[in-house]
Amino acid sequence: MKTLIIIRENAHSWLRDTFPGQHPLLVRICNKSFLEFLFDFSIIAGAREVRIVSDGDMAEIRDFCHDGGRWGLNISYATIQKSDTITQINNKNRRFYAAERIIVLDNLLFIEFNKNESYTEYLASSHVGMLLSNGQGSVYLDGADQQSILEQCGSSPHISIPELGSLPEYFRLSAEILRQGSRYILPGYSNEDGCYIGRNVVIHKGVEIKKPVIIGNNVQIMPGCVIGPEAVIGSTVIIDRESLVTGSIVMHNTFVGEQLEVKNKIASGNRLMDPATGASLQLVDAHLLSEITSEGTVYEGIVRRLVHVLAALLLFIAQLLPYLFLRPFVGEPVAGGTGHEHKTAQLFNRLSLDRFPQLFRVFSGSLRLIGSQPAVFRYAETEEWPENEMDARIVEQFCTLHSHPFGDIPLLLKALLNRKESKIAAS
């Protein structure tokens, strides 16, 4: 048995709007992402091999799941087109299908199941075809029909798909998972019934924890706080002294300030949302509620900026005289770099003198010399073939991934030499 998880980019857009900056399937519900709950179902169904297919960007999902080793799964990835049907997806993933039974989780965020029941035989012995659907997504059985091998399983275990298309439904499901913790949460997460506490959690003196509660990893709860009942605290969260969190969800990377009362709300970054009304309040005071951010690769940023400023200085010296000499003969500002009949204008562009004024912005640190937009020279200009913005984006994403500060120099030379052929407009 194997599991095929189909992710369609346009689905679950409400999650993208509510929790921006992360893939909808990586949004956490209680102490796990939606995707991990689907993995749990796959494990319980006896499917250790999982393929994730998507018509959208999977980089975030790949970074999160890798090969699936940490769940004891073997995860692979494939891409599909937006219009692909189940049959076309089956065709495209023929090697994965082989002669196996496939559980297709199409466009789903969550499946209700009970880990104490047996799903393996039931799913292996059920006929190929639709098992469950709620209009938003479905569970579909595909691949080899093993009816001849296994007798139809007598009793069917609990399996259903909840409606999940808005913030109130998300909030309700979160509370339900918390209440029925042992039904969804696999061994290893639970410290005691109704109380699930992750790794590296510091709970200071005088903190009151009221069950049921889930606390993620890397959390600090300062003295005098009251957490729970029905509180979900994400990972990398700080709750400052004498604050109250009850009937609420504090999403990961969130700081809750001193003496703040969070009742029946969702706190995410610097936003406080009321799931009952859908109202959202953005707090500007970082001492009350704010996002916890990492430092990032500061060193690489400094080196890159230094390299760009030095290269811009050399280019400035090389271009200064030609620019001063040719500029008076070029009547109007020259943009883009193609299609100018006037020979001087063509030469002006060919020598990239139209970009000369932008070098000052590199010196001031407001613009990169070369990079993805905005930059004086775009990575897309290093290639001759891009004909439109989609092509340009392909090149820019490739270069961004493989770029390093010193690698930008050969790319700059390539862009300078390629100015005649480049069909892509500058920033």
Binding site: T79, K92, R95, V395
Partner: protein, 106 residues
């Protein structure tokens, strides 16, 4: 880079092997110009060790020509390295990608 082609039903299978980058792109370009690849085409990328933005440019060019001629282009057998390049650059939106050549030729 090694290039070979064969017929499978209505499809021509173009198998590429080695590195598809700025240095080998002209070789593939001239091979495509010299050989008749009209009709439905499947490009087998199983043995492509490395693919860069210039290599992608060639494939995008073929896709564009096939689309203009109302012909089919499918990619098959992408290994993990190549698959990752397609995902990261989002070039997969321009292609139909299959696990196997035989499934693509159906």
């Amino acid at each position: 880079m090694k290039i070979s082609s064969k017929k499978l039903g209505d499809y021509t299978i173009l198998s590429l092997s080695g590195i598809l980058n700025a240095s080998s792109a002209p070789q593939l370009k001239s091979y495509l110009e010299e050989t008749d690849f009209s009709g439905s085409l499947i490009i087998d990328l199983e043995l492509v060790d490395f693919l860069d933005s210039s290599g992608l440019g060639i494939l995008v060019g073929i896709a564009r020509r096939k689309k203009a001629a109302n012909e089919i282009l499918k990619l098959a057998n992408l290994n993990d390295r190549v698959k990752k390049v397609f995902e990261i650059t989002q070039a997969y939106t321009l292609f139909d990608i299959y696990d196997e050549v035989n499934a693509a030729a159906e």
